[in-house]
């Protein structure tokens, strides 16, 4: 008994010494997949602010989201987690929460009033069983349409406001020898375009039912079939070189005046900026649809569960740094997204970011992204269905709808 006490006292002493020693140099290993030029510049903002706050930032960037997540999850399961790890806003970390592998940060959330300052879809996507389990850091709009202002001016056309208008102007542009829509013909970008059409033409509720509740009734409605057929008509508006193209090559077609329109998330802005173009001058950005609904997602950081006091203090400091208003604006300028806090001043950001911020001021315009609504096995099955329909002009809207019904059944 006495031995036991002595041993535990000894352990306590060692723990105290080592923890106070480590407290002086709070070391945070951060696992993320921000490896492109613009992305690493943006993560540097966090790193610099954390260093300024007295910590040591150990950058662990792994190229490719899937690779990074696999590596991080394996380390958490194996008991050697990083201090903080990136995920996309949504379901990617669900099972980590249910297996108690990540820390709940609700105390910080209540102190920082996150529920009041962040859009509800983002809050809902991060809260599990009433508690915050991740820290959202930005908002990406996924259904932006970038357009070449010169091409539209030369053709005497206005940028389309709705999808039927878009198909009509697209045909006119095609007759002039211009590529109406620049598309990166890889399954995920084809799917991204489809989602823009669903939310823009079918509406926010249809989008939520399709990707969220996933009841077959929604896809059997006439409105959905109309939407699918409209999407089918857009097949004729891309150039033959589209299949297999990378998204940045598609953006480049708009930059070089070869193509008129390009659907992408706001991360595509980085390409325009790198080419020396300014939002509102050479290119414009708009959301197509009767009312502009913005599909929003973004990135979050999770904090692997730990009992180590030093690690906990380091994590607390990281949370403060991530959501600091100045850091938020600077980070998001580089990242192309907008601050996750709706209460910060965005007047120093570009017009697209300001437009994004003002659209999101009305909660009715906030639509949660597929990553938030669907488990990956359903979105994957949808992607397979969309890419088959898009690439096979003979496939009917009905057989596409049937594939969606099957995907809903199997992902249940």
């Amino acid at each position: 008994m006495r031995l036991k006490t002595r041993v535990s006292a000894y352990i306590l002493a060692v723990a105290l010494i080592s923890s106070s020693g480590a407290l002086a140099q709070q070391k945070a290993e951060v696992l993320h997949w921000w490896t492109s030029a613009g992305e690493s510049a943006s993560v540097r903002v966090f790193a610099d602010q954390f260093t300024k706050a007295g910590g040591t930032w150990v950058d662990n960037a792994i190229a490719g989201g899937a690779n990074a997540r696999t590596a991080g999850i394996n380390r958490m399961v194996g008991g050697n987690p990083p201090t903080m790890m990136q995920f996309n806003t949504g379901k990617q970390f669900d099972e980590l929460v249910s297996n108690d592998l990540v820390r709940d940060v609700d105390q910080q959330a209540q102190a920082g009033k996150w529920r009041q300052v962040m859009p509800k879809p983002i809050v809902d996507a991060t809260v599990r069983e009433g508690k915050f389990y991740a820290v959202p850091v930005n908002i990406h709009g996924q259904n932006w349409m970038f357009y070449n202002t010169k091409i539209f001016a030369d053709a005497g056309l206005e940028p389309p406001k709705t999808f039927p208008e878009l198909v009509a102007s697209g045909e006119k542009l095609k007759a002039k020898g211009i590529i109406p829509i620049a598309l990166g013909g890889q399954p995920n970008w084809e799917h991204n375009l489809f989602r823009a059409v669903v939310v823009g033409h079918g509406g926010a509720d249809m989008f939520r039912q399709l990707y969220g509740t996933r009841k077959p009734d929604v896809v059997k409605s006439p409105k959905f079939k109309e939407t699918v057929e409209l999407f089918g008509k857009m097949r004729g508006l891309v150039d033959p070189g589209s299949p297999g193209r990378n998204w940045n090559d598609a953006t480049a077609l708009v930059i070089t005046n070869k193509a008129a329109m390009h659907f992408n998330g706001d991360w595509a802005k980085g390409e325009f900026i790198a080419a020396g173009q300014t939002a509102g001058k050479e290119y414009g950005c708009t959301v197509v649809g009767q009312e502009p609904k913005l599909v929003i997602g973004g990135d979050v950081f999770v904090f692997p569960a730990t009992t180590d006091k030093t690690a906990l203090a380091t994590q607390d400091k990281l949370i403060q740094v991530l959501l600091d208003p100045t850091t938020q604006v600077e980070f998001n300028k580089k990242k192309g997204s907008i601050p996750v806090r709706m209460d910060v001043d965005v007047s120093s950001m570009d017009t697209c970011a300001q437009k994004s911020h003002s659209i999101l001021q009305d909660p009715a315009n906030q639509v949660e992204s597929m990553e938030i609504l669907s488990p990956p096995n359903f979105s994957g099955a949808m992607q397979d269905a969309v890419t088959q329909y898009w690439n096979n002009p003979n496939m009917s809207a009905d057989s596409f709808i049937e594939k969606i019904v099957n995907a809903m059944r199997d992902a249940a």
């Binding site: 399961v77 099972e95 297996n99 033959p240 994957g380 397979d384 890419t387 199997d410």
Partner: protein, 311 residues
Amino acid sequence: MDTISIRAPSVPSSGAKVRRSVRTRLPAAFALLPTALVVLVVYIGCMLWTVRLSFTSSTLLPKLDWFGFTQYTRLFANDRFVTSAENIVIFGALFISGCLIIGFLLAVFIEQNVRGEGLFRTVFLYPYAMSFVVTGVAWQWFLNPGLGLQKLVRDMGFESFTFDWLVNQRMAIYTIVIAGLWHGSGLTMAIMLAGLRGIDKDLWKAAKIDGIPTWRVYTSVVLPLLRPMVVTATVLLATGVVKLYDLVVAMTLGGPGIATEVPAKFVMDHLFERNNIGLGTAAATIMLITVVSVLAPWVYTRYVRPQGRHA
């Protein structure tokens, strides 16, 4: 000369021999123990684990419930998996036979003691030194209708020239075959050439005296003698077929649509991107069963039956 079968050591006939063989074999067995353990635990263990997981409803993390054959039912109702299976058959047949034919012809060409043999050998073997990713990207550019071959020929004045296989649903898988052939033929050539060089020169002299035409010597005498080389090359190429993944990812990403999907990509996507371990492992199990059922008759005829005869 015509078989390379690995025969089990002959059955010992007396007690003294057994003792001696145990003494000599013990260190060998000891040295092989780590490898044997790795094979048993890592390969066989993971294989069994995969098969077990295919009968569960696992998604992101493995879960050991019992889900019956549901994942398999889903798998065979999945267009993408069915297309993948068809594609791997098309690719496998064309890639293996194509590499063997082209490799053999290249080897015969070099065997004629052409000038600059070293150069040709290097040129033909060079593609094999490239990774599949580099091969895929290079061929993607070359075959892209807006950038590569089609544009080149059109710019030379042939306006109606069309070669759009890469973006054509029905033909895209053949562009993968073309890139694969470019990559794999050189290795087959090297193996065949080694075989050709090993053929007794007297055979050629004898054939010449008998007045047999050269092509006939190649088909009726040389080819049968090259059987071990053909078998080696086929085995090497077949492993390339089963693991076909990076070439597709680099070249088409499975597209246009799902036209160039392959089973390995199906497994990878479902395991690591779609949080669908159940379906992914079911597909992996089907791949395993297919490979085993293709190999089993071959192993039986080559290794099991001959020994039975000798005994």
